[in-house]
């Protein structure tokens, strides 16, 4: 069953509404309305993997995306795993530990083979805001290699490329991000073309989150340092991401999401300790001949994560059931 055709949603007359009042004071009109393109099709049982750097990694501190996507999908059940890593690049820098970036990609390969995702959503490249765009050709080559790697090790996975969201210029002494946003804007254009050439779904999160901000300081910031999002920021970011997928989120009060959110946070924590366990050096690295016997504990997270998935689905079903009765 595909979500966009869900008769249930139509029957209930759910409509897409911006969920939050929290808005950047001045929102430039989106250049291309996401509604004009086809929605991304989810299937029952889809395993969605998030891949990218800090903006995706920290989502797991808030658990804002998965509840919204779950609700938008109605009876279609999907599971989600967050493989994002702070300051990662398409080359695998942050996940490389002791080795060169290629080892980071090898580690990612292992995680993809473990998870067997059917959908991979990527958000990479925010570091280009601080580097000359001369780095773009290298970046796109790296991105192409990364997609190849995903297609090889997660055969059949559908890919979604997300552009990094804009930065905010907060009051001094925090830095002015005007130039960085200009870079990100042109980077987004290149990324859109790249996504098209790669036949992947593209979400222009840069524009959905307001595009290049008007000059001046932002009054109601969505980030805590100009770069990384606050809770309110993630609520908006998640809403926009679901919108960007061409899906509609039913009207719910944020508090109604809490029971699902709690289970999502619990699952994300378990999964974090599963895929990125501490003491990598001793468990799997060059000192595993000393304490590698302890690695047997790591797969013990798997049944716990499955149970946590079940609780998410149960919480979602409870909320949906409540909605139906209304």
């Amino acid at each position: 069953m595909s979500a966009k055709a869900s008769p249930l949603i139509l029957a209930l007359g759910w409509i897409a509404l911006p969920l939050l009042a929290q808005e950047v004071t001045q929102v430039s009109p989106p250049a291309a309305k996401p509604a004009e393109k086809a929605a991304f099709e989810f299937h029952d049982g889809d395993k969605v993997v998030l891949l990218g750097n800090t903006v995706f990694e920290r989502e797991q501190r808030f658990g804002s995306l998965e509840p919204r996507l779950a609700l938008a999908l109605g009876d279609t059940k999907v599971s989600m795993r967050n493989l994002a890593w702070s300051a990662d690049t398409v080359f695998g820098h942050a996940r490389s530990y002791f080795g060169p970036p290629e080892e980071g990609l090898q580690r990612l390969t292992g995680h993809l083979e473990l998870l067997k995702p059917s959908v991979v959503m990527l958000c990479y490249g925010s570091e280009l805001a601080f580097e000359k765009l001369g780095g773009l050709p290298d970046f796109l080559t790296g991105y192409r290699n990364l997609l190849e790697l995903i297609r090889k090790h997660a055969p059949g996975a559908r890919i979604i490329i997300v552009s990094p969201p804009p930065l905010e210029t907060l009051p001094p002494p925090l830095p002015d991000q005007t130039d960085a946003n200009k870079s990100l804007s042109s980077f987004r254009d290149a990324l859109r073309k790249f996504a098209l050439s790669q036949n992947t779904y593209f979400i222009d999160l840069f524009e959905l989150m307001g595009g290049v901000p008007k000059p001046g300081v932002i009054v109601k910031p969505l980030t805590e340092n100009g770069v990384h999002y606050t809770r309110e920021g993630y609520d908006k970011l998640s809403t926009k991401l679901v919108e960007g997928l061409g899906l509609a989120i039913p009207t719910v009060a944020p508090a109604e999401l809490d029971p699902i959110r709690r289970e999502v946070l619990a699952k994300d924590e378990l999964f974090f300790n599963r895929f990125r366990p501490q003491n990598e050096t001793y468990l799997f690295g060059f000192r595993k001949h000393e304490q590698g016997q302890n690695a047997k504990e790591i797969p013990m997270f798997d049944p716990l994560i499955d149970q946590a998935d079940g609780k998410i689905q149960a919480a979602k079903a409870a909320l949906l059931a409540g909605k139906k009765q209304l």
Partner: protein
């Protein structure tokens, strides 16, 4: 009476011996009274228990707040979260509300943390290092509970949970600093771009701007960090063993990945230390002020260091211990001066440390206890805690004058929280009102500048006042501030011109630190002016770092001619040498040709040419060889040609004519190098000449070696057949022939080698051939194959086995040697029952003194690879505190099966190069263009990265198995007992005294040498031209050099002495006081003079540089069993030349 004595003695020996629990039944008594009874505190110090479980469990790191509350981070999850366990670790705030010297209130500020390893209160909450993240936990309603959690930074590595981000401290200006350790790789996004730090290092973070920068890199596990009164900072290392490390902007220490060069700590050979505090509180006696306190958590004690400026850095001298304990669960890991001036020590309380060598789930791990101990100075008044929170700004400013760090520190923190608008106007008034005649005037002014920095408002005027201070410490601090602020000083380059020429070396170092930040051609030109004043290690380090890391900034301009560095050729040579690039070579060779360079600069240029010269430059150099004016430089030039040709295959046009002419030279040193070049340059026409040279009876040995190399490099069946023919026809050249054959005909080489082994009389005879067979990956297999069903002498086989295992060579060769030589080895693995019995024997029968003499046997090789303290080999881990950290069963296992558990940092790395060579050893440096490893022969091997085909970490230890196989069981038991005592309270912990521990002792002298000294006088023992048979020796743990290990000079009438020598190194001229354990019948030679009078304490007036000192002990000194020399005073280091 005697019975009681016996009982108490045996109790003592149990306590000392039972240092490591063997089972949960053998754990120490956790009763705090028992633990307290185990403390040994020096006269005048009192210890009491301030807090204990359940108020606090497993304290990891702590910091006070201005209200006198102690914030402690605590983890019961360490070392690894269990599947299904929640995140349960805590930040706990401890308080002594009734001021009776004991905590009475414990509040859980935050929980749901995951192995948090640092906490520091501030900004209305606390910053916490929580595995991958730095959190800010805010208390919004003042109830001492965190209500809001913000991730301030994320992306810190967790590859090892005792290396996680840790040790949060405030800098003197109020910025946050924190450290990470060797296995951690961090990638952090900031509003200024991504910051990455691989391996250990020091971070600095300004919360309000979110700016995060790396200040220093490297160190193994630096859990101690603190600043002195003048803003200079030091780190201690929980796995590094070099005591205090002086941290300055740009400094890089051992183990930093890709570091081309690293700095050392101030006290090589120290036990590993954790936590660091600077004593600056009137509660402590005067002699404690300005000293440093840190913890030897392995040895269950707390140490103190006295630091003296030395050039741009420092010399540190260890003082008597502050605290020692024979309770094996006492693990002092953090140390802080408290609100009352007392010293508070966090006791992690655990019989088991580490989780690399002991299982994560080992039942002996303690998860419930934890203590804070409080040390006070008897009879001295406690300090009073000032009221800081809420105090008016002028009062807070007045507190900056306090002679107490606590007061100044928290006043600054409070001022910072008030913000610039409130603080700056009052600060101006305060500064204007400062008394210029006050002895503390300059320090007060420095505090004012730090306050400004804290509220992020730089004042160029105040800065100019500071930098004009007559006090060098203030000027150095001013330049340290300028590293953040040079953008706000329009004439920065002008003031830096002064700074780089300052009379004080540390001021120059910090001026250079600013130039390092500037990254401009002009700033580099300025930095080089440091060369016009005396240089030292830190200055040289930083200057070279700038030259190398900023090559792209300045080199293009030099090549274009827009930046001239050759006004002073020294500057140019230094800069170019640092780059190691061939484009930098041109101006240098020009200067070389023009004869502008001093001798050492010329040598440096030629070394660089070997690494970087291209074909045209090689031709240019070849022509210089033939230039009569260059006669004196021929050897250096040709060595450079050999290096360029052998390592990079660079050859000039007209190579054949050049080589053939040189081969006909009357000068042996030219012929020698020409033979090698003939091979490197593939001059086939020279083959016949090389063959003649190789076999001619009158050829000098080095020339003959060169001919072998040349022929091997020429290669082909011709070389192979020729070598084989030499083997058959020239008995005296058989070894050389086999060595040559290994390159051109491995199979034949192996056959001939075995024939040769069969006739060998000694292992030494076979060694060169064995070595030749281990030089690449293929040869060992070839030799192994050939050894099948053959017989060789057992001593040859043993030598081979030793070489194979110390080089980490896997494959069949070791077994093949064992079979062919019929070598039997002791059964290495012990059954659990055998292990238990042996552990028991160590306890009941082992004798540490006998064990030390076993340890010192030359053939066991212990000392050639391991040091105890600062004396001994560096290939293996330092054993200084092994007894405090390693259980007896672990020691036994490590001796019998070295590869089972390998200490971090001592893994063997095996590198294969593109030309098929194999190098193995301990990684020394992995930076820039080359990897440096220390091979099993203790030689540094530099391998250009471009040549590396593969590298791997070996699972095998560099320590060969079976080293102890020759020992009887009782000797083995004594040895283990000795090791198990090392670092523990008692005779086998290295005393803090600066004893001379590494010596050169005179070996057997021939008649001529004896006569020389007799005729010239004792001072001739330091003649530079005379080659004496010096041998390296190290002192015992006690500092004694046993004289029984020295030989008498039998013919040196009238002394017939034993002679031992060391050297003193000084950065600046100064006085040094030595202490001698005996003076009768003892003579001392210092530099080129024999001292007239020998007293137990000798004060020397020494120049900067290295001065040799020899102790000459006459045969008459019959009651002298050992020699001990101590550096009592002075900024000198004992070194071995």
């Amino acid at each position: 009476m005697s019975l009681r004595l016996l009982v108490s003695l045996s109790l003592l020996s149990t306590a000392v011996q039972a240092s490591q629990p063997k089972s949960t039944a053998d754990l120490p008594d956790p009763n705090p009274e028992v633990q307290k009874a185990g403390f040994v505190v020096p006269e005048g110090i009192e210890i009491s228990l301030w807090a204990q479980e359940p108020m606090i469990a497993k304290p990891v790191q702590m910091n006070w707040d201005a209200q006198g509350r102690l914030w402690v981070v605590s983890s019961t999850t360490y070392p690894q979260i269990k599947p299904g366990d929640g995140t349960k670790d805590q930040v706990v705030v401890l308080e002594d509300t009734d001021h009776d010297g004991k905590a009475d209130k414990s509040t859980v500020f935050a929980e749901n943390l995951h192995i948090p390893t640092a906490v520091i209160p501030g900004d209305g909450g606390a910053y916490v290092a929580n595995s991958t993240e730095v959190l800010f936990l805010k208390d919004t309603n003042g109830d001492l509970k965190a209500d809001e959690r913000t991730v301030m930074l994320s992306g810190f590595g967790t590859e090892d949970t005792h290396h996680l981000l840790h040790t949060m401290r405030y800098t003197p200006e109020g910025l946050l600093s924190f450290l990470q350790s060797i296995y951690i790789h961090s990638h952090v996004e900031t509003p200024y771009g991504v910051r990455r730090l691989m391996g250990g290092g020091v971070w600095e973070f300004r919360p309000e701007t979110r700016r995060l920068e790396v200040i220093s890199k490297g160190l193994i596990n630096p859990w101690g960090y603190e600043f002195d009164r003048w803003g200079q900072s030091f780190a201690t290392d929980g796995a590094g063993g070099e005591g205090l490390n002086y941290i300055f902007l740009g400094s890089v220490f051992k183990t930093s990945p890709n570091a081309k060069r690293t700095l050392s700590g101030l006290n090589p050979g120290q036990p590993k230390q954790c936590g660091l505090e600077y004593i600056d509180d009137p509660h402590w006696p005067d002699e404690w002020q300005g000293t440093w306190v840190t913890n030897d958590f392995r040895g269950n004690r707390t140490n103190r260091f006295h630091v003296t400026p030395n050039g741009s850095s420092y010399i540190a001298k260890q003082e008597a211990d502050v605290l020692a304990s024979n309770h094996r669960a006492f693990r002092p890991i953090d140390v802080r001066l408290g609100p009352d001036g007392a010293l508070y020590i966090a006791d992690w309380y655990n019989p088991i440390i580490q989780h690399g060598e002991v299982d994560f789930r080992d039942p002996r791990r303690d998860l419930v206890h934890g203590r804070i101990w409080r040390l006070t100075a008897k009879g001295r008044p406690l300090s009073e805690m000032p009221k800081i929170v809420g105090a008016p700004v002028p009062e807070l400013l007045e507190m900056l004058k306090a002679q107490r760090k606590w007061t100044r520190h928290f006043a600054k923190q409070e001022l910072r929280s008030r913000g610039a608008e409130q603080v700056i106007p009052a600060l101006k008034t305060w500064v204007d009102g400062l008394d210029k005649n006050d002895a503390n005037y300059w320090h007060n002014l420095l505090e004012a500048a730090w306050v400004r920095e804290g509220v992020n408002k730089f004042s160029p005027k105040l800065w100019r006042d500071l930098v004009a201070s007559p006090d060098a410490r203030v000027r150095a601090a001013a330049y340290r501030l300028l590293t953040h602020r040079w953008r706000e000083l329009p004439d920065a380059l002008e003031v830096l011109t002064k700074g780089i020429g300052d009379e004080n070396a540390q001021v120059r170092l910090w001026a250079m630190g600013v130039l390092h930040e500037l990254r401009q051609p002009r700033s580099f030109e300025l930095a080089l002016r440091a060369l016009d004043k005396p240089m030292d290690e830190s200055l040289d380090f930083l200057l070279e770092l700038i030259a190398r890391e900023q090559t792209d900034v300045w080199l293009p301009l030099v090549i274009k001619g827009d930046l001239k560095l050759d006004d002073n050729p020294k500057h140019l040579v230094y800069a170019m040498k640092a780059t190691g690039r061939s484009e930098g070579l041109k101006p240098l060779l020009d200067s070389f040709k023009a004869g502008k360079l001093a001798a050492d600069d010329a040598t440096a240029v030629l070394t660089m040419a070997g690494d970087a010269a291209d074909a045209a430059q090689v031709l240019e150099m070849s022509n210089l060889v033939n230039d009569p004016a260059m006669s004196a430089q021929v050897v250096g030039l040709m060595d450079a040609l050999v290096k360029a040709g052998m390592t990079r295959g660079v050859k000039p046009e007209g190579a054949q004519e050049l080589v053939q002419a040189w081969l006909a030279s009357p000068r042996a040193e030219i012929v020698h190098r020409a033979t090698i070049l003939a091979g490197a340059w593939k001059v086939e026409a020279a083959r016949a000449t090389l063959e003649t040279i190789l076999t001619a009876a009158n050829t000098l040995p080095p020339v003959r070696d060169g001919a072998v190399q040349g022929l091997a490099k020429l290669g082909g069946t011709k070389s192979r057949d020729f070598f084989d023919q030499v083997f058959a026809e020239h008995a005296e050249l058989r070894s050389l022939a086999v060595q040559g054959l290994t390159d051109v005909g491995p199979q034949i080489a192996a056959k001939r080698a075995i024939e040769f082994f069969a006739t060998a009389k000694t292992a030494a005879e076979a060694a060169p051939i064995l070595t030749a067979f281990l030089k690449n990956k293929q040869l060992p297999g070839v030799l192994a194959n050939e050894l099948k069903d053959k017989t060789i002498p057992d001593f040859v086989a043993v030598e081979g086995i030793r070489m194979v295992s110390t080089r980490g060579i896997k494959g069949p060769l070791e077994d093949a040697l064992r079979a062919a030589g019929g070598v039997k080895q002791m059964n290495q693995a012990l059954t659990p029952e055998q292990m238990t019995a042996l552990v028991e024997k160590v306890k009941s029968q082992g004798d540490a003194a006998r064990g030390e003499s076993v340890y010192r046997r030359q053939q066991l090789l212990c000392m050639s690879c391991h040091a105890i303290g600062d004396a001994g080999g560096v290939l293996g881990p330092n054993l200084v505190s092994i007894g405090g950290s390693a259980p007896v069963d672990y020691l036994i296992e490590s001796l019998l099966e070295p590869s089972k558990k390998i200490k971090e940092g001592y893994h063997m790395i095996i590198i294969s190069t593109k030309d098929g060579k194999v190098f193995s050893g301990g990684l020394v440096q992995d930076g820039g263009d080359e990897v440096i490893i220390r091979d099993p022969a203790n030689q540094l091997q530099k391998i250009p990265k471009a040549q590396i085909a593969s590298r791997q970490m070996s699972p095998a230890s560099m320590m060969p198995p079976g080293l102890t196989a020759s020992l009887r069981e009782d000797e083995f038991v004594d040895l283990v007992r000795f090791l198990s005592e090392l670092g523990r309270e008692g005779a086998y912990k290295i005393a803090p005294n600066r004893y001379v521990r590494t010596w050169k002792v005179m070996g057997p002298m021939d008649q001529a040498l004896n006569d020389h000294i007799r005729h010239v006088g004792l001072h001739a023992v330091h003649d530079k031209e005379t080659v004496y048979p010096w041998e390296l020796r190290v002192s015992e743990v006690s500092g004694n050099l046993p004289l029984s290990e020295l030989v008498n000079a039998q013919k040196m009438y009238p002394w017939f002495p034993k002679i031992a020598r060391f050297a003193l190194k000084l950065e600046a001229p100064g006085k040094v006081k030595l202490g001698l354990n005996a003076v009768k019948n003892v003579n001392v030679v210092v530099g080129d003079k024999a001292l007239q009078e020998i007293t137990p304490e000798i004060t020397l007036d020494l120049p900067a540089g290295v001065t040799p000192v020899s102790i000459i002990i006459s045969k008459e000194a019959t009651d002298m069993q050992s020699l001990r020399v101590e550096l009592l005073e002075g900024a000198a280091q004992a070194v071995v030349e």
